[in-house]
């Protein structure tokens, strides 16, 4: 079982759009996939028409944790794809993650326990630097980071890399990709070019800016269901294939 996170310090960069479409792709390709919506905003839950949970169901007692988590699983409308919807409050999760012993590995251990049902767990993360984020950095095998090719976003990514360096997290897990790219903008083209030179690991395929992605909110479904042949959908497919290759390289 592999764990992939969609993460960024910033909001509104395309984490959720990526998590939803990539999870759908993975499931379609036959992998038993679980998407966990860790953002209290519940955007990916919304796209899959699953109601967020009112209270926080994260349990403090180790034994109850797995049961409670399993109880949260909702089958999506699509084969091989399940979801754990967002919870309005992360209070209990915070308490859980702040437990004194081996604080950063709590999430990883928890996910490993429910791993037998799945080949892939995708985490849609909130844009924060918190104990949760640190747990995600440890738990994930790969961390997909959407980057809008603008100087500001580039700076944010530099900060993330520095944070990893300072805290001694595994920087090889970081897999940035360009998101919401507007190829007509000189600024986007220049920034992308510069970043590709500095960061060799940036994924080859980029996600274009597209109203189809915005319309996901109207259809409440992954792109493939209503924009199959469109560019954005094809971009997610290509991106997933690249990610899949990277995952194969991980033991």
């Amino acid at each position: 079982m592999k764990i992939v996170a969609c993460y960024s310090f910033k909001g509104g960069v395309g984490k959720t759009a990526a998590a939803v479409n990539l999870a759908y792709r993975a499931a379609q390709s036959g992998q038993r996939t679980l998407l966990i919506d860790l953002d209290p905003q519940g955007a990916s839950s919304f796209y899959f028409r699953v109601r967020p949970e009112a209270g926080s169901k994260w349990k403090k007692q180790t034994l109850e944790q797995t049961d409670a988590l399993m109880g949260q699983i909702r089958e999506s409308d699509y084969s091989n794809l399940d979801l754990i919807p967002a919870q309005r409050s992360l209070r209990n999760l915070d308490i859980l993650l702040k437990q004194t012993d081996s604080r950063e590995t709590v999430l990883r251990r928890l996910l490993k326990k429910i791993s037998q049902d799945y080949d892939l767990i995708l985490l849609d993360c909130p844009p924060s630097v918190s104990r949760l984020a640190e747990n995600i950095f440890v738990a994930a095998d790969l961390i997909l980071v959407p980057v809008i090719p603008t100087p500001l976003s580039e700076r944010t990514y530099d900060q993330l890399v520095r944070f990893f360096k300072d805290k001694d997290y595994d920087r090889k897990k970081l897999l940035p990709f360009f998101s919401m790219v507007d190829a007509r903008k000189q600024l986007h083209r220049d920034t992308a070019l510069g970043m590709r030179q500095r960061y060799k690991r940036i994924l080859r395929h980029a996600i274009p800016y597209s109203t189809d992605v915005e319309r996901m909110g109207v259809h409440r479904a992954p792109l493939d269901l209503f924009a199959r042949g469109r560019q954005a959908n094809r971009a997610y497919l290509a991106l997933w294939e690249e990610v899949e290759l990277q995952l194969e390289g991980i033991g």
């Binding site: 028409r49 699983i73 909702r74 089958e75």
Partner: protein, 504 residues
């Protein structure tokens, strides 16, 4: 979770929506037109699988969980699975073997799949509506509801809302269930004899009853044999008769000599008619093996040989069918049946002894006989004596298997396994020997061409070397079976019962 409901009447999707106050979306409408294929003894069905010819164009094999294991295109189904390609052949071979596939049952129904949506238009359950036109006694409607993970409460609510129009179905709605509701009621003929022995029954009575049952089972095969459905009918016919004859000869001391003699010769006469047919069947069934024994340039000769044998087999089969339909044969069989029904004559020496005691003694003495006969055999002993051991071993096998119900089967199994090992070796040795003889007899055939002659000689050479190989193992196999380990097990299992008081 799955919920299975039987509906009192047909329900449209909009009625379903109304009753449950949910949105119901149609997903797929399928007209299922099925023909169940199986062997005469329902071996596929009995192993909890179902083979279907669907809509006149597909073969589909379903496993016990209703999962589609294999599907292949086929306008018609082949009578024998050897004509099928790999995934399906592999799956069916252990069940069907040389038996023919027969169209056992046909039916059709309608399957409407749909989804229940909640207020967010999220699917919470999937439903399949079955409309059985051919159901007995009347048209039936079933509904399967599967909740999506995490939405069981919603599914339960749906089931509750359907209370007024549906009742819980006693069993899961599976392929088998639906077929049964359409009237399929497989009633495979018993292949294993059921003797219902009583340990204290007098020997003659028990043996007569068993012989009668075996004769009945043999005669049950006649119809299929005459229709030439598959080779298994002839085989089973002969196996049952052979068991009957073995029983008679094993317990001849429990019968008056004259009666034994008549019964024995009657049975022999009946079985004889099929000797040649079985030889040819066995040889033809093994075609692929024979072909693999010789290099390619022998193949045309083999073609001629098999063509000739196939023709001959048809002639012999026709002769057998004529024999089986003759007054003479039917009279003999009827007479035998009556003779077996006659009240047991208790004048013979062992006739009144309790069957369990008698059988235990017989098993012990039969085992000792094999030890004794076996001890005479070394690398040079003539074939005749090796065959004697084989025949005695076969009798012991029949004793252990036919009377298994009198003992604990778990314990017998170990002995049967050991015995089987010996029998396999002796059996192969005998088969290769008789195949060599059979082929030699073909060489003298009139008008035989050189290529065919060469192929026959080639086969004889290969079979002879295989025969020698088996012969080389005979001494060790006999030694293993006669050794103290097995001997002690026989003693342990049967000594007490053999010594028991009671009977005469």
């Amino acid at each position: 979770m799955n919920y299975y409901l039987e509906l009192k009447k047909s329900l449209s999707l909009s009625e379903l929506a109304q009753l449950t106050r949910m949105k119901v979306c149609a997903e797929r409408l399928e007209q299922r037109q099925l023909c169940v294929l199986d062997t005469v003894d329902w071996s596929i069905w009995m192993s909890d699988q179902v083979l279907l010819h669907v809509a006149g164009k597909r073969l589909e094999l379903y496993d016990r969980d209703d999962q589609l294991r294999v599907a292949v295109h086929a306008k018609r189904w082949p009578s024998f699975i050897t004509q099928l390609n790999d995934p399906l052949f592999e799956a069916l071979n252990p069940l069907v073997c040389v038996r023919a596939l027969l169209p056992q049952f046909s039916s059709q129904w309608q399957e409407q799949s749909s989804a229940f949506l909640n207020n967010d238009d999220k699917i919470v359950a999937r439903a399949t509506l079955y409309h059985l036109v051919d159901a007995t006694p009347t048209t039936s409607f079933f509904l399967k509801i599967q909740s999506l993970r995490g939405y069981d409460q919603e599914a339960q609510a749906i089931v509750n809302d359907l209370n007024s129009v549906a009742t819980a179905c006693q069993s899961a709605i599976t392929l088998k269930f639906l077929l049964k509701r359409c009237g399929l009621n497989p009633d495979p003929p018993a292949t294993k004899p059921a003797f219902h022995l009583n340990p204290d029954q007098p020997t003659t009575e028990a043996v007569m009853g068993m012989v009668a049952e075996l004769l009945r089972l043999a005669r049950q095969q006649e119809e299929g044999l005459i229709a030439d459905i598959d080779t298994e009918f002839t085989h089973q016919y002969r196996v049952n008769l052979r068991k009957a004859r073995s029983l008679l000869s094993l317990f001849k001391k429990a019968l008056p000599p004259k009666r034994y003699q008549t019964l024995r010769s009657e049975l022999k006469k009946i079985a004889q008619a099929t000797n040649r047919l079985r030889d040819l069947d066995v040889f033809l069934l093994d075609q692929d093996n024979y072909r693999a024994m010789l290099p390619t340039h022998f193949q045309p000769g083999l073609d001629d040989l098999f063509k000739r044998l196939k023709r001959r087999r048809q002639q012999v089969w026709r002769k057998v069918t004529v024999t089986l339909k003759k007054e003479d044969y039917l009279e003999h069989a009827q007479l035998l049946k009556l003779q077996l029904k006659e009240p047991p004559d208790l004048s013979a020496r062992h006739s009144g002894m309790a069957i369990k005691k008698q059988v235990s003694r017989k098993i012990l003495s039969q085992y000792q006989k094999i030890q004794r006969y076996g001890a005479r055999i070394d690398a040079e002993t003539p074939d005749e004596q090796v065959h004697e051991v084989r025949i005695e071993a076969k009798k012991l096998r029949y004793l252990l298997e036919l009377f298994a119900e009198l003992f604990s089967y778990d314990q017998l199994r170990r002995l049967i396994k050991a015995l089987k090992k010996l029998q396999d070796n002796l059996g192969r040795f005998n088969d290769y020997s008789s195949q060599c003889l059979f082929l030699e007899s073909l060489l003298s055939g009139a008008g035989i061409k050189t290529a065919e002659r060469d192929a026959i000689n080639g086969l004889i050479a290969v079979l002879y070397s295989k025969r020698q190989h088996e012969r080389g193992q005979v001494v060790d196999m006999i030694a293993a079976f006669s050794g103290t380990e097995i001997a002690e097990q026989f003693q342990e299992l049967f000594t007490d019962a053999a010594a028991q008081d009671g009977g005469s």
